[in-house]
Symmetry: C2
Subunit: 654 residues, 2 copies
C-alpha cells in the first residue's frame, strides 16, 4: 500500500498509508483537532484546509460547495490519497465560518438610508427673532413661523410640550432644536431643546444633518418585539440608522402563563389586565434602561418606538380586552392600533415619543409576522418562500410577491428555553450547541460567553435532542434508552433524564439535565410547528418542496444547526442551501419600520394582503400534529436524509 | 284755566286743569303709579299708554321714539293738555319693555342651524355584520367598515376608547352608536354606545337626526367663558342648537388675586400653577355638574367644549407658564392652543370630549374678545362699531368688516360685583337697579328673584353710583356729601358710606352699603375702561362719535341703564339708540363656535386680523385714565347730556 507524506502547518511531516483518516494522521503528527461529535462528521468542527495535494472526502456535511472549492475538508470524514499540505484553521475561525454564513447575519443599515427622505421624525435647529414691543407674537406662533422655511407647516403639540416652549426658547436664547413627528396630521412637535446642537450649516438642510464634529448626537428610536416568551429591544440611532444596542429578556408575564391562552384567561380576572400590562411594560422599560446605559444615553432621548408582537401581546400591552381572541370566532379587538404617545401607556421613553404598534393580521398571526415577512423579504421576491417563526406561537407564512398565506399553532415556549427544566435564553452561560459521542454518549458543548454553563438555550436543545436521537439515546418516540452503559442517562425526579453537565462543571453548581418531560415539551413544540407549515402547504395545494427558500426566524439562539433541526423533524427535509436563519425577524421588521416610512407602509400592505387560515377549525392540523410527535416523524419518507441504523443504534448520515 | 277729563283704565274719570302732571291726576283717581326715582324721569317705571287725547311730554328719557309713536309717556314727566284715556300697563310689562329691548336678548339658535352641515361632531348609529369563522375581521376594522357608507373614512381613537369597542359592540348585539369628531385628521371616535338610539330612519341621514318621538336624546356640548372674575357655562343640545342651561359662578382663583397680574405672580410660586389650574377646573366642573343636573343629564354625555377666556385665564387653565404675559414685551406662550381631550386637563366632562380653546390675540386681548367680536357682529358689518367688554380687563375693539383694532386695560372686578364690600354676582338676591329720591335720598331698588337683597351686582352698582351722583350725594370726585340730612350717609369702618338697605330689609340681616372705598374702586374701573376706548379711538384717528354702534358686553347684570352708565362716565355720551347691551358676548361667541365650524373659523380669522395696541407702552393712556377718574369726567364737554345743577345739588337731565 502506498505511503503518503502529510504535513500539518509547520509541524514535522508524518507518513501514513492510503486511506488513513486525516484525524488519525493529525494524531500521529501531534496536532490537536477538535472532534466534539466524536468523529461522526456531524459537527463540522474538524474542518481543515487542504493547501496542496488531495484527500477523498467521504462526507462534506457542514461544508458548503464554496468551502469544498476552497479546499476545506472534514478531517474525520476525509482519507489520505496522496501527499498533502494541510492547514488547521484557528478554532474561532471555524466557529465564525459556521455561525456567520447562513446563520444570523449582523444587522446592517438599509442601503442608502437617508433620514431626510425615509424618516418620519425630524430634528430641526432654528434661531427665532426674539419678541419685542413691536412684535408681540406668541411663542408658539413664533416657533412655527421659524420652522416654516424648513418645510414644516403648522404644528400641533400636546399640552406638556406646549408648557415647555416658553422656558426652552428663553433658556436657549431663541435658538432651539425641535423634534417633530411628520407622520401625524398636522405634524406634531414632540420636544424642544434649548441647547443648540452643533450642526453642519455648510450643506443645504444642514440643520438636520447629524453633527460630524466628533460629538455625534443621535436621535434615538427603539424597535421592540414583544414575544410571548421573549421581549427584544433594539436601540437605534435614527440619523445614521445604526443599531447601537440589542437587548432581550423573558417577558415578565411568563409567571402568569406560558402561552397566550393562559395569559388571556389571567388577564380576564379581576385586576389581571392591569397586572399583565404592567408586567410587560416593566420588561420593556427595563430593557430600554439597559440599552440606554450601554450607549450612555437616557430613555427620554428616545422619541419613536415601533412595536411588533403577536396579537395577544399587543392587546395586553395596550390594555385592550383580549377575551375575543381565545373564543370562537377568534377575532381581535384591534389589528392596527392608531399611533399614540408613550405617556398614554407609561412606556419608559420620552413621554411624547410616537409609539407605532405595527399591524397584525388575525388573532394568532400578529404584527410580529407582518414585520417578519417584511424583514425576511418574503413579499419582495418572485421565489416562493416558506417563512417559519420558531416561537411560542409557531406562525408560518408561505408566499411570494404575489400571494401570502399564513397560519399559526401553539408551540409553547420550549424553543426559547422556557418550560424546560434547565432551559434559558440564548445569553451568557447558555449551552448553544451540543455534540454527543456515539460510543461513549459523553457530550461536548459550546457555551455562550465561554463560561461555565448555567442552562441550555433553544439551539442547544435542538442540537441536544438531535444528538441524543442520532446516537440512539432517544428513540423515535422520544423515550430515553435507559439500557445504555453510561452514567449520563439516569432516573431523575421526573423520570429518565440525560445529564449534559455535572454539577462541578456548571456555573451554578447543579447538574444540567434534559428530562423526559422536557423532551416531551420539545416534541410537542416541534410537532406543532411542523404540522403548521405542512397543513399550510397542503391548504394552498403546494408541496413543501415548492418552497424555493425556507426562512427561519426565532429567538432560539444565536445560530441553529439546520441538519439537527431537520433530524428532529422541526424543519422540513430540504437541501441545506435553501435554509436561511434570520434570527428575530420581528424585531428586525420593527427596526426597518422605525427607520423607513416606506417599509412601514409595506408592513401594513403585508398585513392587509395576507390570507389567514384558522387551524383551530381544521381537523387535518390535529392529524398532522399527531403524526409529527415522533423523531423525526411517523412517516420517515418525509425525511429521506435522516436514516437511522437501529441495528447498531448509531445513525448513519448520508 | 281749562279743565280736562282724564280716565285711567276703567276707574272713574277725574277732572284736572291744564298742566297737571299725569302722576297727580292718577293720584286723584286712586291709581297707583310706581315712581322709584321720585318722579325725576330717570327710571322709566311710570310709563303709561295714552290711548286717546294728548299730553305734553317734558322728557321722554327711557322711552324710544317707537315708544312715543305708540303713545307711551312718562307719567311723572307729562302734563295734561286735553281730555285723555290712559292705560297703565301691568308693571311686569313695563319691566319687560325696559329689559328686553336693548338689553340682554334671549339666546336664539342661529337661523338655519343644521348639525349635519355645521357641526363637527357626528352621531351615527350602525348595525355591523357579526364576526364568524368566515369573517374574522377585527372589531375596530369592522366598525370602520360599517361607518364608511356614512361618509366617515378611516378613524382614529384614543386607547381608552379602543378598549371599550369590543364589549360595546357585543353588549349592543352589533348595533351601536358612534360619536365622532370630524374636525380632527383622521376623524376621531370619541365614544361608542351599546344601546341603540331610537332614530328617524324615514329621512335621508336619519341616523343622525335628533329623535322626534318624545324622548329627545341630545348630543351635549358646553360653551365656557373663563373670566378673571366670573366663569360662565352654557349647556347646549348640539342637535337642535338650543342652550338648555346657563350657569355662572365666581372664578375660584379670585382668592389668589383679583386681577390677572396677581394671578400670574401667584402661579409663579411653588405649586402655584397647579393650584390655579385646579381652582378654575373646580369652578368649571362644578358649573358643568349644576348645568347637567338642571337638564337631567350627566357630564360624561358632553362630548365637545369650546372655551373662551382672556389669555391669562387660558394659560392658567392649560397649565401654560404665564410669566411672559406680565413682563415686557408682554407675549403669551400660546394664542391658539391645539384641540385636546378633556382628560388631558381633567375637565369634568366625557374624558374623550374635544376641548377647543378659542384663539386669542395678545397677552391682554384673549379669546373672550375674539369670541365677543364674533357674537357681537363687529366684524360682520360695514358700520364702525365700538365694542366694549365691561369686565375685569376692560377690553375694547373698534372696527368693522374691514378693520379691527383692540386694546385692553386693567379695570378690576368691581363691575362684576367683586372687590366691593357688598358686591355680588347678578344672581338671586342681587340689587340690580337702584333709584334714589332726590329730596329724601331714600333708595328704591329691584332685586333679582324678588327676594330680600343680599348684595349689589354690577348693574346695581352703576345705577347706584349714578343716582348718588345725580342727587348730589356724591360729588364729581366720588366723595360722599356728609352734610346731607339723611341717615343713609354715615361714617362706616372704611370712611363715609351709603346704606342702600337696612339690616331688617336684607336677606342676611346685615346692612347693605356702598363705601367710599367701593366708590373709589368703581371710579378706577370706569376710568380705565373709558380711557381704553378713548385712547383706542385716538389711536386710529377717529372720534368716538364715528362709532355708529356701541356694543357693550359684560357680566355686570341682566341689564344695564345706558344713561346711568353714561352719567358716571363709564360709557361715552352718545345717543341711546346707538347702544346695544349684549350680556356675556364671550360665552355667546363660544356657543356659536360650538355649534358651527364656520363661526369657529371666523373667530380664528378675527384673532388673526385684529391689530393690538399695547396701552402699557402708551403715556396717553395714563393721562386719559387720570382725566376720567371723575364723575362723569374732568372734561364735562365730553358729557354734554349730563348736566348737574350744583346750586340745587340736583342734576337736571335734558
Amino acid at each position: 500500500m502506498a505511503t503518503h507524506t502529510i504535513t500539518f502547518d509547520s509541524t514535522p511531516p508524518v507518513h501514513v498509508p492510503t486511506g488513513t483518516l486525516l484525524t488519525e494522521a493529525a494524531r500521529q503528527a501531534g496536532v490537536d483537532i477538535t472532534q466534539p461529535c466524536g468523529g461522526q462528521g456531524r459537527c463540522g468542527r474538524c474542518a481543515v484546509l487542504v493547501q496542496e495535494g488531495g484527500v477523498r472526502r467521504r462526507s462534506t456535511l457542514r461544508l458548503t460547495s464554496e468551502d469544498v472549492a476552497e479546499g476545506y475538508a472534514l478531517a474525520c470524514q476525509s482519507v489520505v490519497e496522496e501527499d498533502a499540505q494541510i492547514t488547521v484553521p484557528p478554532q474561532e475561525k471555524v466557529e465564525r465560518r459556521l455561525t456567520t454564513d447562513r446563520v444570523l447575519a449582523e444587522v446592517t443599515v438599509p442601503t442608502g438610508y437617508d433620514p431626510a427622505r425615509d424618516q418620519t421624525l425630524r430634528r430641526v435647529t432654528v434661531t427665532l427673532t426674539p419678541p419685542s414691543m413691536d412684535d408681540q407674537t406668541d411663542d408658539w406662533s413664533r416657533l412655527q413661523t421659524a420652522l416654516r422655511p424648513h418645510g414644516i407647516p403648522a404644528l400641533t403639540a400636546s399640552l406638556p410640550t406646549l408648557r415647555k416652549i416658553g422656558r426652552t426658547l428663553r433658556t436657549g436664547e431663541w435658538t432651539t432644536t425641535a423634534i417633530i413627528d411628520t407622520a401625524s396630521t398636522p405634524p406634531r412637535l414632540l420636544d424642544l431643546r434649548p441647547t443648540p446642537f452643533v450642526v453642519d450649516t455648510s450643506v443645504p438642510g444642514g440643520a438636520e444633518a447629524p453633527p460630524t464634529n466628533g460629538n455625534p448626537l443621535p436621535l434615538w428610536g427603539a424597535a421592540v418585539d414583544i414575544g410571548t416568551t421573549t421581549v427584544s429591544v433594539w436601540l437605534v440611532d435614527l440619523l445614521t440608522g445604526q443599531v447601537r444596542a440589542q437587548v432581550a429578556e423573558y417577558n415578565g408575564q411568563i409567571a402568569r402563563g406560558e402561552d397566550v391562552i393562559s395569559r388571556i384567561i389571567y388577564a380576564g380576572k379581576n385586576g389581571g389586565h392591569e397586572e399583565m400590562q404592567n408586567l410587560v411594560l416593566n420588561t420593556i422599560n427595563g430593557l430600554v434602561d439597559t440599552a440606554c446605559k450601554r450607549v450612555q444615553t437616557t430613555p427620554d432621548q428616545i422619541y419613536k418606538v415601533t412595536i411588533a408582537g403577536n396579537s395577544t401581546m399587543m392587546h395586553l400591552l395596550l390594555g385592550l380586552p383580549a377575551e375575543s381572541i381565545r373564543l370562537s370566532p377568534f377575532v381581535t379587538g384591534v389589528n392596527e392600533p392608531p399611533p399614540f404617545r408613550a405617556a398614554d401607556i407609561g412606556l419608559g421613553v420620552n413621554p411624547e415619543a410616537v409609539v407605532d404598534c405595527l399591524p397584525g393580521v388575525a388573532s394568532y398571526v400578529g404584527a410580529d409576522i407582518s414585520a417578519g415577512v417584511l424583514s425576511s423579504g418574503v413579499d419582495d421576491s418572485e421565489q416562493v418562500s416558506l417563512f417559519i417563526d420558531v416561537g411560542t406561537n409557531g406562525e408560518t407564512v408561505m408566499g411570494s410577491r404575489d400571494w401570502l398565506v399564513t397560519c399559526a399553532c401553539s408551540a409553547g415556549p420550549a424553543f426559547e428555553g422556557a418550560g424546560v427544566v434547565d432551559g434559558m435564553r440564548a445569553t451568557k452561560g447558555a449551552i448553544e450547541e451540543v455534540w454527543v459521542n456515539g460510543d461513549t454518549f459523553e457530550p461536548t458543548f459550546r457555551v455562550i460567553g465561554e463560561v461555565k454553563p448555567r442552562g441550555i438555550c433553544g439551539s442547544g436543545l435542538i442540537s441536544l435532542m438531535a444528538e441524543l436521537f442520532l446516537t440512539g439515546a432517544l428513540d423515535k418516540g422520544g423515550n430515553f434508552n435507559t439500557h445504555l452503559s453510561t452514567p449520563r442517562i439516569r432516573n431523575g425526579d421526573h423520570g429518565p433524564e440525560y445529564v449534559i453537565a455535572w454539577a462541578d462543571e456548571t456555573g451554578h453548581g447543579r447538574d444540567i439535565v434534559l428530562s423526559h418531560v422536557d423532551v416531551d415539551n420539545l416534541l410537542r413544540a416541534k410537532a406543532a410547528i411542523y404540522a403548521g407549515f405542512s397543513v399550510l402547504a397542503d391548504g394552498v395545494g403546494m408541496p413543501l418542496e415548492a418552497a424555493e427558500r425556507v426562512l427561519v426566524g426565532g429567538s432560539f439562539g444565536k445560530y441553529i444547526n439546520v441538519e439537527k433541526a431537520v433530524e428532529i423533524g422541526l424543519l422540513p427535509d430540504m437541501p441545506w442551501e435553501q435554509f436561511h436563519f434570520l434570527g428575530n425577524t420581528s424585531v428586525k421588521g420593527a427596526y426597518l419600520a422605525l427607520l423607513d416610512k416606506t417599509a412601514r407602509a409595506r408592513i401594513a400592505e403585508i398585513a392587509r394582503k395576507m390570507t389567514y387560515i384558522e387551524l383551530s377549525a381544521d381537523n387535518s392540523f390535529y392529524e398532522a400534529f399527531t403524526s409529527a410527535l415522533f423523531l423525526p416523524h411517523t412517516d420517515l419518507s418525509k425525511f429521506p436524509s435522516v436514516k437511522v441504523d437501529r441495528v447498531n443504534t448509531v445513525p448513519v448520515i448520508k
